[in-house]
């Protein structure tokens, strides 16, 4: 009974800080329709700022409260600058580009935080009043957690008053319902958006500052928090504050009780709950279908097979790639092998995002599954490399088909969030399980003797990856590819001519999963090892950046994007420690300059030149 009560209270305390972050995210999404990937970064900044402020203040409760408020306000200020400097310019860009830009912010903030505060975890020296315990049901419960429990509902109440009792709040709610109408009524949308973003950022900062005493300010906070916040917002319903609170409660309690019941499966449990909620209520617990933002109505550009010059260029590249082992040194050859793997990985994601119309944020899951299957085949079954290279895409494809079965009916953002959560859970499982070697990974996954020579292995990678990418391209111009695109362009129309859009999307997911799995397997043999990072969020985002850089609506896009990104990455990592900062700035600059991607921009240039 005591254990139950203590876990309940722990859960409630966790729910509060989770709610603060999720509330900011959901408010921002509701009004601006931007899924703010950098929300976790704002949370992290809140924690770091709070550390800087609180370590300079006298350690008593009043100063503490003031310091936390200061950190929240400072984060809100950063949010305002972010909105004015970046987001304001991309509200009309496609959803995915907004996400990409905010991911650029994540990278920039990572390195800036590292520069300012250093790499170590920063903990707050806890004064006695923070360390105090309160006896509850024969057990001692930290007083600070009790304070947290109260803060969540207090903030919810304050937000509720703000949104229902003030004119500004009414405007925000109206904009959440129908922002075009609000604009048509003469409300200054720019100011409204800026303030809403500031409010959301402030809530994230508050969450980060309040979480500091129980943990530390560290550089991993941003991505771990954003995943949880996404789950909460999706389960609660995008844009719904009470929904976010309910979901935060649900998830936090699940976590605190899950630790008792299934200590290793809390993340899996979270995913199961999320899947169950979305299966019954596709828009979350209290969410409603979003009225589409009218001005950004999607129109899809005509997709043509590559023009003659582009084909010639591709042929030249292919010939160069075939000639490479005879001229290139081992280092260049290994960079090229890596580029080939990245290319197939990006091409597989493109199948989902482009013709499939499904924005997957967890594509690394299939890459990682492929890698682990190859490792299991090599180390567990002691099977030769071809067996691993065959099993990996097969298993990844089957699992992607099964996963696809229950997500293909979800709409855009929900789909993206669910794929993200799924990949994060696999990642967590891989880093915790003994079967996968945990964070130490699986070592010694080497190719067979005949393929040990880097030139031979390069040839194998070339055949599988370039061949795989070409095969995917061929499929996209087959009747299946056309039908898939038809289902994306106009789903009701596609159904009315007898097509089955969910089934087509499932097939596309399986195909993309298999191709990513193959890329993962080649990567495993290439590196000789597999680590949980092969399915980390960073890896998924790599692929996203490659596809979006190249342009979603061109078949050449992922290839171009993979080559540019791998090149950029290899150059950056050799010349600067601050590669995240530079990469983030480059991504932001590219999004601002080419909202259609590099290949998309080139295509338009070609078209303009022709007319």
């Amino acid at each position: 009974m005591d254990v139950f009560l203590i876990q309940l209270l722990t859960g409630l305390a966790g729910a509060s800080s989770l709610f603060l972050v999720a509330a900011g995210l959901t408010v921002i999404f509701g009004v601006t329709r931007v899924v703010n990937f950098s929300h976790g970064s704002l949370f992290m900044l809140g924690a770091y700022l709070a550390w800087s402020i609180l370590t300079r203040l006298p350690p008593d409760p009043a100063w503490y409260a003031l310091g936390v408020a200061g950190a929240a306000l400072a984060t809100a200020g950063i949010g305002v600058l972010l909105e004015i400097g970046l987001l304001r310019r991309i509200y009309r860009a496609p959803e995915l580009f907004q996400l990409l830009a905010t991911f650029g912010v994540v990278l920039v903030v990572q390195d800036l935080t590292l520069l300012i505060w250093g790499p170590g975890d920063l903990t707050l020296p806890r004064p006695p009043w923070l360390r105090a315990f309160v006896p509850i049901a024969d057990a001692m419960f930290p007083r600070y957690d009790l304070i947290l429990i109260v803060i969540g509902p207090l903030v919810l109440a304050a937000l509720w008053l703000l949104f229902t009792r003030t004119r500004w709040g009414t405007l925000v709610r109206a904009a959440t319902e129908d922002r075009d109408m609000v604009a048509a009524l003469g409300v200054d949308q720019r100011l409204l958006f800026t303030l809403v973003f500031g409010l959301g950022a402030g809530l994230a900062g508050l969450g980060g500052a309040l979480a500091l005493p129980d943990g530390s300010a560290n550089l991993q906070m941003d991505l771990s928090v954003i995943t949880q916040a996404f789950v909460v917002v999706v389960v609660g319903g995008m844009g719904s504050l009470p929904g976010a609170w309910l979901a935060a409660l649900l998830i936090a309690l699940l976590e605190s009780f899950g630790v008792l019941l299934l200590p290793r499966a809390t993340l899996v449990l979270m995913f199961v709950v999320m899947a169950a909620v979305l299966a019954v209520r596709p828009h979350g617990l209290l969410g409603r279908p979003q009225a589409p933002a009218r001005e950004s109505g999607q129109s899809f550009a005509l997709i043509r097979p590559a023009s003659a010059p582009l084909r010639a260029l591709a042929l030249i590249l292919l010939v160069a790639a075939i000639a490479a082992p005879f001229v290139a040194g081992p280092f260049l050859l290994s960079v090229l092998t890596e580029a080939l793997i990245a290319m197939l990985f990006a091409a597989s994601l493109h199948v989902m995002m482009g013709p499939g119309g499904m924005a997957s944020f967890g594509h690394a899951a299939w890459f990682g599954i492929g890698a682990y299957v190859a490792a299991a085949a090599a180390k567990g079954l002691l099977a030769p490399m071809p067996v691993g290279l065959l099993l990996a895409p097969l298993l990844a494809g089957v699992l992607a088909l099964a996963f696809g079965w229950f997500v293909v009916r979800l709409s855009g953002i929900y789909f993206a969030m669910l794929t993200l959560a799924f990949a994060q859970i696999l990642w967590a499982a891989a880093s915790q399980s003994d079967a996968t070697g945990g964070d130490n990974g699986i070592l010694g996954v080497w190719p067979d003797a005949w393929a040990q020579d880097p030139r031979v292995f390069y040839a194998v990678a070339l055949v599988l990856c370039a061949g795989g990418a070409l095969a995917l391209r061929r499929v996209l111009f087959s009747p299946f590819g056309f039908a898939l695109r038809a289902a994306r362009d106009a789903a009701p129309r596609a159904e009315a001519i007898g097509l089955n859009p969910p089934a087509l999307r499932m097939a596309a997911a399986a195909l993309a999963g298999a191709a990513a799995g193959l890329a993962g397997a080649v990567g495993a043999y290439f590196n000789g090892s597999v680590f949980p990072t092969t399915m980390s969020l960073g890896r998924s985002v790599d692929a996203l950046v490659m596809v979006l850089l190249g342009g979603v609506q061109t078949m050449a896009g992922p290839v171009v994007g993979a080559l540019v990104y791998t090149g950029l990455y290899d150059v950056l990592i050799r010349f600067t420690d601050l590669w995240r900062l530079v990469l983030g700035l480059v991504i932001i600059a590219l999004v601002l300059a080419f909202p259609q991607g590099i290949a998309g921009a080139a295509q338009r240039f070609e078209r303009d030149a022709a007319t």
């Binding site: 129109s299 899809f300 550009a301 005509l302 997709i303 061929r474 499929v475 111009f477 087959s478 009747p479 299946f480 590819g481 056309f482 039908a483 695109r485 038809a486 994306r488 362009d489 106009a490 009701p492 129309r493 596609a494 159904e495 009315a496 001519i497 007898g498 097509l499 089955n500 087509l504 097939a507 195909l511 609506q553």
Partner: protein, 252 residues
């Protein structure tokens, strides 16, 4: 021969009856117009027949077979084709490719992963495009067509599934007057030549009385009149719905 038979169709949205006990039938080769003021239930009725919604009451039969509540793709396989009020074609493809996709779907070829799509059913697609007078635009992007041309392409898509029943929701909305007549004359020709049954909703009374064999009048979810155009024109209740109780001017 009766192609479509609707019996006692009813549908409510959150307690509001959008459609209440509507029964009618469409014969092969017949063009049946469904008219009524805004909110009369025309689009609801269409979405019940097309499988986009399923009815709360009543049955729908296609050539005697019960098709109530079947999904749109099942209906397409059974010979029900439709065009939408807000025209939807596949914007990322050419006009010809649009029709090819429909033909591939109709012939169960959509799960072929390896053959090149642009060579399959090419001639058949061109024949359909010629039928709707859009062959000259076959290689243009469907996403950039003028509205009237889009309607024609959509018609070709519908015809690609070799339907026995064609449902057209506001087929001429947004078109110029001359274009309207031409499109409906084309549909008339198809109905006469192939025995295609056509049910359409329409706001333009010139179009309705120009091509329809019979007219159904809906008001507030119920059928208030059905009959030949001349009879409908003279019907007192129809005049009341359209012109108000005291309306006496000569219109419609």
């Amino acid at each position: 021969m009766t192609v479509l038979e609707a019996v006692g169709l009813g549908k409510a949205f959150g307690g509001v009856l959008a459609l209440d006990g509507v029964s009618f039938s469409v014969e092969a080769g017949e063009m049946l117009a469904m008219i009524g003021p805004n909110g009369a239930g025309k689009s609801t009725c269409f979405n019940l027949l097309g499988g986009q919604l399923s009815p709360d009451a009543g049955r729908v039969r296609l050539a005697g077979r019960d098709i109530t509540g079947l999904a749109p793709r099942r209906l397409a396989r059974l010979g029900v084709a439709r065009t939408f009020q807000i025209t939807a074609v596949f914007a990322s493809m050419t006009v010809r490719e649009n029709v090819q996709v429909a033909l591939q779907a109709h012939h169960h070829r959509s799960l072929r992963f390896w053959r090149a799509a642009h060579t399959s059913f090419r001639e058949a697609a061109d024949r359909l495009l010629a039928q709707v007078d859009m062959l000259a635009a076959a290689d243009r992007a469907a996403g950039v067509l003028a509205y009237g041309d889009l309607k024609r392409v959509e018609l070709a898509l519908a015809l690609a599934t070799n339907p026995t029943l064609l449902l057209m929701d506001e087929p001429t909305a947004g078109m110029a007057a001359a274009e309207r007549g031409a499109l409906m004359a084309l549909v008339r020709k198809l109905a006469d030549a192939s025995g295609l049954a056509v049910l359409f909703t329409e706001h333009d009374m010139d179009v309705v009385f120009g091509v329809a064999d019979r007219v159904l009048v809906l008001n507030r979810g119920t059928l208030i009149a059905a009959g030949a155009p001349d009879a409908i024109r003279a019907d007192a209740r129809v005049r009341e719905v359209y012109l108000g109780a005291t309306g006496a001017t000569q219109r419609c």
